[in-house]
């Protein structure tokens, strides 16, 4: 058999700097490096390298770098090399191509074509170091009217809400797709920051019940790990209809990863594949969704907000409108750039729409129908920085979910090989020797640091615009201008072009 | 303020000073140094002879040690203890005490050998003065006979080698270091050193005749300088004469108390509890003196302290042959040879009783800890323990506590 595989990366070692400490050898789960005793030097097998950057980061003398393998097929703007290598793989295996993390293809990134305003002469800037800046948000339905008694106390019964110290939450990533230590770090950071993290469809490990005040529990189509205590223990319950990385299909965790605590938490036998079906088999219409929303509310005595999470697809605005009338308190929309532990490559790369456009159209539609206050909108699907957060809020979001960004904060280098389960950073793996590498004390501190920094940056950007609360920023499309966008794009986003007043 | 008087100015006294000060910071301490020198380390005398250290460095905590510690040093020989009046009489003066430590150490034993008085240059090798006198004779040249192939005789030989290659070491025993090694280990040491040292073993001295030693076999050895290293005797006189319980040494309990109230003893002069044989005996070792002295000091200052982990120990490097041993060589013996190194482990009742290592001694302290703590050897393989050991042989909780948190020795 001919080996058609081309190693995508090449390990380049500066032998003048290499001191044979063998850290690269000890820390590579793909067994790329080894010390050749007879020759007294380190040898690297580049074919196995996935460019996770672990060895580069740990090398004490910075002797390593990973570069793209310059071995090139004949240039072809249409038949790019990746299409060829993917066909070679399928011709060899007959299998569906699987990928991890979010869509890497060069579709437009709208956040990078949107610019934020700043105040100059009129409506001056606010100095966030001197003036109070309100970054707290409350997620949930907003009552149409507020009634007060004689003393001025509110008598209207307020629906259940989530209180966030800043408009960012940790997105759903299941225990099984990521490690126990990663969950521990997310839970601790959520508690310390005063925000929430999401269990994803893997259930909630009993060690994390103590963080229940900061936990959103997810009920996905496979209903893994869903039992009475699980629902009781969440601060909110999220019904997952879809996920940005793989709209229309369910989740898949291979049996090899269903071991020990993962199996117990998901409530399925060890070694069995955890395949979530594409639809919830009890939701075949919007009325069915309303029924499930209210069943959950009944079961939890109406004390917890219910979130419905959908992927951003073509008629997302109509779907959102239906959900806003179903009794859900929060709609979470996941754009096509969203991450995943494993998804079929073709679906990840070709299905769904950008979150920026989805958000613009959903927010507009709900306002038009006068039901915008029925729900809060939370968006996800590649929020990469505090600037993306601000732009999302201006486009109409109440808050954002961050998935990939939190993993990156914990050490992920987006090598996109999570599906092999050999994550060198201890994040997307269940191997105990690898999970060890993610010390939750360190990882939680990194998450807290990142979001503290983002919060500060958000305040700076808001202050620059002369705005002092997220509430005043939300849906404030006049604070945004597009650049390099056409008429249609500007219309969907609901923003003007840069230069227009 | 409590008055502490310490008779003797060597290692046990050093330990006692540390022990007293740890419990009674403002203690009034007086040391009666019969040897009339500031604190120095006796084991260093052979190294000084060998030029591996200097005469100044023998004062291993500095010549001003007593001043630094706020201790009054009196260079006088203690002559009598009056336990009723609680005073010491030393060279005409009286030194009152509340608590007394007797750390008078030992003296080289010189048996009444026929003709010894006819020998010109004869030496013992125990104190700094002994070393200085020997060095003075060595500098004039000549052949050296050392009688006694124990640790002192052998270390002396190492120093003498700096001056002459012409050394004979004689001993009644069939091998060198008879007390410090096992027959197998001693044989290996002898074999390794026989090209450097002229050993006359199984040689019992009969008499001297000027510069000639004559042995029971009839063998004769001529020499210019004689060193007698035939062992040491504890200097028990001061306490024996006032009715303390004395055997070969002064008997003390685990708090280093003699049977006389307010009188403690420590160091080479005592017979104290030895943890492997679980009985009292003379140990006469450097760490035993220090730790025993420290225990005495703490008890003298009112803090309850017991010395229950004293074991025989020996670490030395003789002409490049490293010998490390601890405990007693009793029970079941396991031997291994690693390269040129001989190693033996002695176990009884599932517990390590002793070990001896010739050559590399890396992490030997782990074996010593097993002996001292009487930790069961469990599933550990004796041969593997001898080949090499590290913290992974301890139970996991002990190791985690030792590395991750507070741990008691």
């Amino acid at each position: 058999m001919i080996d058609y595989n081309v190693a995508p990366f090449e390990v380049v070692r500066d032998y003048d700097k290499c001191v044979n400490c063998r850290v690269c050898e000890r820390q590579c789960s793909n067994e790329v490096h080894h010390y050749e005793e007879g020759f007294g030097k380190m040898i690297s097998d580049s074919a196995k390298c996935v460019d996770c950057q672990r060895c580069v980061c740990l090398c004490p003398t910075k002797a390593l770098k990973i570069v793209p393998n310059q071995n090139a097929f004949r240039p072809n703007a249409n038949w790019q090399q990746k299409y060829l290598t993917e066909i070679y793989k399928q011709a060899e295996s007959g299998g569906v191509l699987l990928s991890s993390m979010g869509n890497p293809e060069p579709f437009p990134v709208y956040f990078d074509k949107i610019l934020i305003n700043a105040s100059q002469v009129t409506n001056p800037s606010i100095d966030p170091l001197r003036e109070p800046m309100e970054t707290r948000v409350f997620l949930g339905a907003k009552p149409q009217t507020i009634e007060r008694d004689a003393e001025g106390k509110i008598v209207t019964k307020l629906p259940p809400r989530l209180k966030l110290s800043m408009p960012v939450m940790f997105s759903a990533m299941s225990y099984g797709s990521i490690s126990y230590n990663a969950h521990a770090a997310l839970a601790r950071a959520a508690e310390a920051l005063g925000i929430y993290y999401n269990t994803g469809e893997g259930g909630l490990h009993k060690d994390f019940y103590k963080y229940s005040a900061n936990t959103i529990v997810q009920v996905a189509s496979g209903r893994f790990g869903v039992h009475k205590d699980y629902l009781e223990d969440g601060a909110a319950i999220e019904i997952k209809i879809g996920q940005g990385a793989k709209p229309g299909i369910g989740g898949h965790l291979p049996g090899a990863k269903i071991v020990g605590d993962v199996s117990k938490t998901r409530m399925i036998p060890e070694g069995s594949d955890a395949v979530s079906p594409a639809p919830h088999h009890d939701i075949y219409s919007i009325e069915d969704l309303r029924q499930l929303v209210y069943s959950i509310k009944e079961a939890t005595e109406y004390k917890k907000p219910v979130i419905v999470k959908i992927a951003a697809v073509h008629n997302v605005a109509a779907i959102a409108s239906g959900i806003a009338r179903s009794g859900a308190d929060i709609i979470a929309i996941d754009g096509f750039r969203g991450g995943t532990g494993a998804a079929p490559t073709r679906i990840r790369d070709n299905v769904g729409i950008p979150i920026e456009l989805a958000l613009g159209s959903v927010d507009e539609r709900l306002r038009e129908e006068n039901i915008r206050d029925n729900v809060s909108l939370v968006v996800a699907g590649s929020i990469r920085s505090s600037a993306d957060v601000v732009k999302a809020i201006c486009l109409g979001a109440d808050a954002v979910y961050i998935g990939s960004a939190s993993l990156v904060a914990m050490g992920c280098h987006l090598c996109r090989t999570c599906n092999y389960g050999k994550c060198n950073w201890g994040i997307a793996t269940q191997r105990p020797d690898l999970v060890k590498r993610l010390n939750p004390d360190i990882a939680a501190e990194r998450l807290i640091n990142m979001l503290t920094a983002w919060n500060h940056e958000i305040q700076e950007m808001m202050g620059g615009m002369g705005i002092n609360s997220i509430e005043a920023l939300r849906g404030n499309r006049l604070m945004l201008r597009g650049v390099g966008l056409n008429e249609r794009e500007l219309a969907v986003l609901g923003i003007k072009h840069a230069g227009e007043v | 303020m409590k008055k502490y008087v310490l008779i003797g100015g060597s290692i046990a006294t050093e330990g006692a000073i540390e022990g007293i000060l740890s419990a009674d910071k403002n203690a009034d301490i007086t040391v009666l140094c019969g040897e009339k020198r500031p604190l120095y380390s006796r084991p260093l005398i052979s190294y000084a002879l060998e030029k591996k250290t200097t005469d100044e460095k023998m004062y291993f905590h500095g010549e001003d040690y007593y001043e630094k510690k706020g201790v009054k040093a009196v260079y006088a020989v203690a002559e009598k203890i009056d336990p009723a009046e609680k005073v010491i009489i030393a060279e005409g003066k009286e030194y009152p005490y509340d608590e007394l430590l007797v750390a008078t150490g030992s003296k080289p034993f010189v048996p009444p050998i026929k003709g010894l008085e006819s020998v010109g240059k004869k030496h013992t090798f125990y104190t700094m003065d002994d070393m200085l006198e020997l060095r003075a004779d060595l500098e004039k040249g000549g052949k050296v006979l050392i009688v006694g192939a124990g640790l002192i005789g052998m270390k002396c030989a190492e120093g003498v080698k700096e001056y002459t290659d012409d050394i004979v070491i004689a001993d009644m025993a069939p091998r060198p270091l008879p007390a410090a090694t096992t027959p197998e280990a001693g044989a290996i040491v002898q074999e390794r050193l026989s090209s450097i040292i002229d050993f006359r073993l199984n040689a019992a001295l009969d008499h001297f005749d000027g510069n000639k030693a004559v042995f029971g076999s009839g063998e004769e050895v001529t020499f210019d300088i004689l060193v007698l290293a035939l062992g040491v005797r504890p200097q028990v006189g001061l306490l024996k004469e006032i009715g303390a319980e004395v055997n070969r040494g002064i008997i003390v309990n685990e708090k280093m108390q003699t049977n006389l109230p307010h009188i403690y003893a420590a160091g080479d002069v005592v017979e104290s509890y030895e943890a492997v044989g679980e009985s009292k005996r003379l140990l006469q070792l450097f760490p035993s003196a220090y730790l025993g002295g420290k225990t005495a000091g703490k008890n003298m200052a009112g803090e309850d302290s017991r010395f229950l982990t004293d074991i025989p120990m020996n670490a030395t490097n003789l002409f490049g042959v490293r010998i490390t041993s601890a405990g007693l060589f009793v029970g079941e013996k396991t031997e291994v040879t690693v390269g040129e190194d001989y190693r033996a482990l002695y176990t009884e009742g599932g517990v390590i009783k002793g070990f001896i290592l010739i050559g590399d001694s890396a992490r030997a302290g782990i074996l010593t800890d097993f002996i001292r703590k009487k930790r069961p050897i469990g599933d550990l393989c004796a041969k593997e323990l001898l080949a090499g050991r590290d913290l992974s042989v301890y139970p996991a909780e002990e190791r985690r506590a030792a590395l991750g948190g507070k741990y008691e020795i």
Binding site: V19, V23, R26, P60, N439 | S41, K52, K57, R372
Partner: protein
């Protein structure tokens, strides 16, 4: 007194602590020059019981047995309570090695004793192993 503590549940057995220790005590400013083509003999050693790994270095005991056995005064406690080695005084008798229950002190090929001195004897000032451990398995703190 701040000491080095090891959290063996986080030790990855990467051995970076050993190389950083050798670098810290090399007296050479550039890490490549300090380590290139050298056989290292660091004061911290990564050991294993077959299942987990852990780094072992001097515990700077409150009542150090090594000091009680040292005949030359080479081992002593400084004002902070750290156990320091004055190699110029050491005569290589090996008594310290014989008593240390952790196997943390050794006789080097130069024939004198050496062990961790919390990087107080080199220009790092604070233990480099703790600073460079990638997973927080070695910490330098007060307990």
């Amino acid at each position: 007194m701040k000491k080095i503590y090891v959290k063996e549940e986080w030790c990855l057995g990467c051995h970076l602590c050993e190389f950083e220790c050798a670098y810290a005590n090399s007296g050479i400013g550039n890490i490549v020059l300090a380590l290139k083509d050298k056989e290292i003999d660091p004061n911290v050693k990564v050991l294993s019981d077959g299942k987990i790994t852990f780094a072992v270095s001097c515990r700077h005991c409150d009542e150090p047995l090594c000091i009680s056995a040292c005949i030359s005064g080479a081992l002593s406690k400084d004002e902070t309570g750290a156990v320091m080695v004055d190699r110029s005084k050491c005569v290589g008798c090996g008594s310290c090695v014989m008593v240390c229950p952790y196997g943390a002190v050794r006789i080097t090929k130069e024939g004198t004793a050496n062990k961790c001195q919390l990087c107080m004897n080199n220009s790092c000032g604070e233990p480099l192993c703790a600073r460079k451990c990638p997973n927080g398995a070695i910490v330098y703190e007060e307990k």
